[in-house]
């Protein structure tokens, strides 16, 4: 594989078994087998997705609700296993499917940073190195020894977001995480995103076309589990907006 490629997705398929009736529990499983009912129906979510992402690209993934964006992202993050096809990742991938995964309200801000860091695969020493930057970016210096439950929701999101963007990985995976905090914090995030362009490989799933136009160097439109369009972010954003016309 070329050295320049960060992520290579080939002919990716994924489907889910959706339980048709309440098939949780042994009783229902037993009766379903007795009656010859499968108890689930196959739902195809990804239908053969192909793309390569090069190092340094800022890729926006857009699409309607239920088009398969999140499933794609979770497969890239190795949370789901591909059913058919392959996903190859070159380098260290940091996924943020949701901000503040594993955040615990009973722990202090500091403890949560270390726990979150460990979940993302960082050692305590690596978190030590990022810690000051994270706290400064979140502007929460004086609150870090308070329990997280005493943080306002805006503060919690700011902390989570700061971890997300300060975590040093080769590839950053972000799902709908823009637009957090107050206007001043947003401004700061926008500047930060703009500075990332060209230096860091980022994959961003979003519904906000202005951010696609502003930050992305490439965009991919997903529809019905297939790549419908791949290329210039402005054109893809226009196509996305026309989906409803």
């Amino acid at each position: 594989m070329e050295n320049d490629i960060a992520i290579s997705v080939k002919n990716l398929h994924k489907s889910f078994r959706l339980p048709t009736e309440r098939s949780w529990g042994l009783k229902q499983a037993f009766f379903n087998r007795l009656k010859g009912i499968k108890g689930y129906k196959e739902q195809k979510v990804l239908n053969g997705i192909d793309f390569d992402i090069h190092r340094g690209e800022f890729v926006g993934i857009v699409g309607r609700n239920g088009s398969g964006k999140s499933t794609l992202l979770k497969t890239l993050a190795k949370i789901y296993f591909p059913e058919k096809g392959s996903v190859e990742i070159n380098g260290n991938l940091i996924p943020f499917i949701e901000l503040g995964v594993g955040f615990n309200p009973e722990l202090s801000g500091r403890e949560n940073v270390y726990l979150n860091g460990a979940l993302l695969g960082f050692s305590n020493k690596e978190v030590d190195e990022m810690y000051d930057e994270i706290v400064n970016f979140a502007e929460l210096g004086e609150f870090m020894d308070q329990k997280l439950k005493n943080f306002s929701s805006g503060m919690q999101v700011r902390l989570a977001f700061s971890i997300a963007i300060r975590a040093r990985g080769d590839i950053l995976l972000l799902d709908e995480v823009l637009a957090v905090g107050d206007a001043a914090f947003q401004q700061k995030c926008n500047e930060y995103f703009a500075s990332l362009r060209g230096n860091q490989t980022v994959i961003l799933v979003t519904h906000s076309m202005p951010s696609v136009r502003k930050f992305c160097s490439r965009a991919i439109l997903i529809d019905n589990g297939k790549v419908k369009m791949d290329g210039d972010p402005k054109k893809v954003a226009d196509a996305y907006e026309k989906l409803w016309d």
Partner: protein, 270 residues
């Protein structure tokens, strides 16, 4: 997912952080805090002691019966806590598993490690209690960790196996609760095994084939008195003797294999 590898640094850090969190949060908001880790087994012991040793006069022929009983109840509490937390681990960390990729076994191990910490604290209490009760310290005390390791291995195997099934069939938790109740009476915790042996040697032998019974009797043998009847001394057939150990190994291997096979789909099924 890679083969469970404790040497891989990232996994060790995560295991440490999760265990620390579990332990810290367990008694959060209670006035006595960590003391509950000690008080719970001690209170269970006190109840059983009053009912069985004082009222029903069990174990009057066994030297140091209170320590004998305490050792049994402590190891039993360890087993129930370990499997209880272990089986629930994957389901209760569902949020995490759906959002992030990491080796799933870490969640199970971290949940059970809290029980190990509690056991170690309680072990100190047993030793103090034994000394007060006049048990002579012995080199054989140093072999107790081997027994604990065996019991932990068994608990981990059960946690992997039932924890993986529990993701799809939540009935497992309730079924296991009933099993725990039944097992409590099928193991010589409150009654001395000699009482069973007096009426039926066969029944006593069957009881001692259970790895939990074997561990508890071994711990008593090592800690308190070598008059304790153990699986090793009571079962004469050399092939039957090793059945408890074989069972532990089978359950661990089967449990880990099944868990690994199923763990790929945890994120979708939880």
């Amino acid at each position: 997912m890679a083969i469970p590898n404790f040497l891989y640094k990232g996994n060790r850090v995560l295991l440490k952080e999760l265990t620390k969190t579990d332990f810290k949060l367990r008694y959060q908001g209670s006035v006595l805090g960590y003391l509950w880790a000690l008080l719970r087994p001690l209170m269970m012991f006190a109840i059983l002691y009053v009912v069985f040793a004082k009222l029903l006069r069990f174990g009057s022929d066994i030297p140091h019966y209170p320590v004998y009983l305490l050792t049994g109840t402590t190891l039993w509490s360890f087993f129930t806590e370990c499997t209880g937390q272990g089986i629930q681990a994957i389901v209760s960390r569902g949020e995490l598993i759906r959002k992030i990729c990491f080796p799933k076994y870490i969640v199970v191990v971290s949940a059970t490690l809290t029980a190990v910490i509690n056991l170690l604290i309680n072990l100190v209490v047993i030793i103090i209690f034994a000394l007060i009760n006049g048990v002579t310290p012995s080199w054989s005390w140093l072999a107790v960790p081997i027994v604990i390791f065996e019991l932990y291995t068994l608990s981990l195997g059960i946690s992997f196996l039932l924890g993986a099934i529990n993701v799809k069939y939540r009935d497992i938790t309730s079924i296991w609760d009933v099993c725990i109740q039944a097992l409590f009476y099928a193991i010589p915790i409150i009654y001395p095994i000699t009482m069973v042996a007096a009426s039926s040697t066969l029944a006593a032998k069957i009881i001692l084939l259970n790895p939990i019974a074997q561990c508890i009797q071994d711990a008593r043998y090592l800690l308190i008195t070598n008059e304790t009847v153990t699986s090793w001394s009571f079962i004469t057939n050399p092939f039957l003797k090793i059945i408890p150990i074989i069972l532990v190994i089978i359950i661990l291997v089967w449990g880990s294999w099944y868990f690994r096979k199923k763990s790929k789909k945890f994120a979708e099924e939880i």
